[in-house]
Amino acid sequence: MGEIKSVRTPLTDEVVKSLRAGDAVEITGLIYTARDLAHKRLTESLQKGENLPFNIMGAVIYYVGPSPAKPGRVIGSCGPTTSYRMDVYTPSLLAAGLKGMIGKGNRSPEVIEALKRYCGVYFAAVGGAAALLAQRVRAARVVAYDDLGPEALQELEVENFPVIVVNDCYGADLYKEGVRRYKREG
């Protein structure tokens, strides 16, 4: 791993353009949790022309359903969930102003294309490193969809949240490049 880049949310086009697949990044600022059902509701709101429950301009969404917080803690364990399930919803969110996503696992060609078109970035956090990642969360509050339990939309205040750039705004894909580099034939 090379030097660690620090970024602050909301993300600007300039910041997104400075990030390349393979970069180690630490994110500081507000990010929003959303997974399957929250994505479905957000997309339905966009289709109906309603306001979203958070400001999506320059926002970063984290695909996570945290464990419940113990008394005295801000959040429970909170590692990323698998991203491909959100692929179908992502292009319309990028079109609406979303700039970044944190998850794990490959994205669809449509998402990679939308990242180029709308200048967005996809980060991976280490799947399962959920207790470690929880230590980088300073505050958490439910913003919407409280009825969804672990899938509620939450605003997290994070400090030096460690991620790796997988898909940058230039079309690069660290999953493909990394595996190609280490594959052995025969």
Partner: protein, 280 residues
């Protein structure tokens, strides 16, 4: 006839749910350390370091290793000389899972219906497998199983003529298609033989083996080793970002087979191979 109180079973299951989710087994920790020596990718090494640090924090704070605290899969061996006092065995297990997941601040990930998807609120029902064995002991193993890796699993009805080659090709192909999704480095459970559903159950049971153990049958021990070597040539690496350590272990469970069939199941586990055992 020996009697075991309902409450004792319930409380044991609750404790096992919490411990399995917060305390990673020494065999898995050793496998991470060994992987760190083997890994060539700098990103892969950093990920393995994060996983080692993560399990330390989880153990110290009694926080879940992963936020996906899984389906509670419970394996029971009940001696024929055991009687449960004060209620039914399955009720004690279900109540224990509800208690463990609620009081232990574990995530409730189970919905009551696959299409209507309303959360049951206490992570029940557990999946329970029971064996009746001789003796007067009750053995309980709680194996929380995450959804991300479960989604990358598969059953295939191969033909007898496909042989060991067909099995190996299917297993390797299944891991290769999974890429980053099941949180590599993975542990691969393989069930061969039995019926359609039996081989899937065997693949899950295989995931209870200790990392570093070898199959008692040298034929299958060799096959496990070959599969692990081939999988680690795929280049998927930790978290699928490229590297040498794609799998920590491959475990096979074989069972007698019908002359017309050769079912094979692959059940993939993420790097957090979790299970805890109690004998009452």
């Amino acid at each position: 006839m020996r009697t075991i109180p309902f409450e004792k079973i319930r409380d044991t299951v609750a404790r096992l749910c919490v411990e399995a989710n917060c305390i990673l087994g020494d065999d898995v920790i050793s496998a991470f350390k060994k992987g760190l020596e083997m890994e060539e990718s700098p990103t892969g090494k950093e990920i393995l370091r994060q996983l080692l640090e993560n399990q330390e924090i989880a153990r110290k704070e009694m926080m879940p290793i992963c936020q996906d605290t899984g389906w509670a899969v419970v394996w029971v061996e009940i001696g024929s000389g055991v009687r449960v006092e004060g209620g039914e065995l399955y009720d004690a297990i279900q109540e224990g899972v509800a208690k463990g997941y609620t009081e232990g601040y574990l995530r409730k990930s189970i919905v009551s219906d696959p299409l209507r998807r309303k959360n049951t609120g206490n992570n029940t029902p557990a999946i329970i497998y029971t064996d009746i064995v001789p003796g007067d002991k009750l053995k309980i193993v709680v194996q929380p199983k995450g959804g991300g890796s479960e989604n990358m699993s598969e059953v295939r009805m191969l033909s007898a003529a496909d042989g060991a080659f067909g099995i190996k090709r299917f297993v390797i192909d299944r891991v290769e298609r999974s890429q980053a999704n099941p949180c590599p480095p993975v542990i691969v459970g393989v069930g061969i033989g039995g019926t359609f559903e039996k081989c899937a159950m065997l693949a899950k049971k295989a995931l209870l083996r200790e990392i570093g153990s070898t199959h008692p049958d040298p034929f299958y021990a060799e096959m496990e080793k070959e599969l692990l070597d081939e999988i680690n040539k795929l280049g998927i690496g930790p978290q699928g970002l490229g590297g040498r350590v794609t799998a920590l272990a491959v475990f096979i469970e074989a069972f007698p087979c019908h002359i017309a069939t050769m079912p094979c199941a692959v059940n993939i586990n993420c790097h957090a191979q979790r299970h805890k055992t109690a004998i009452l």
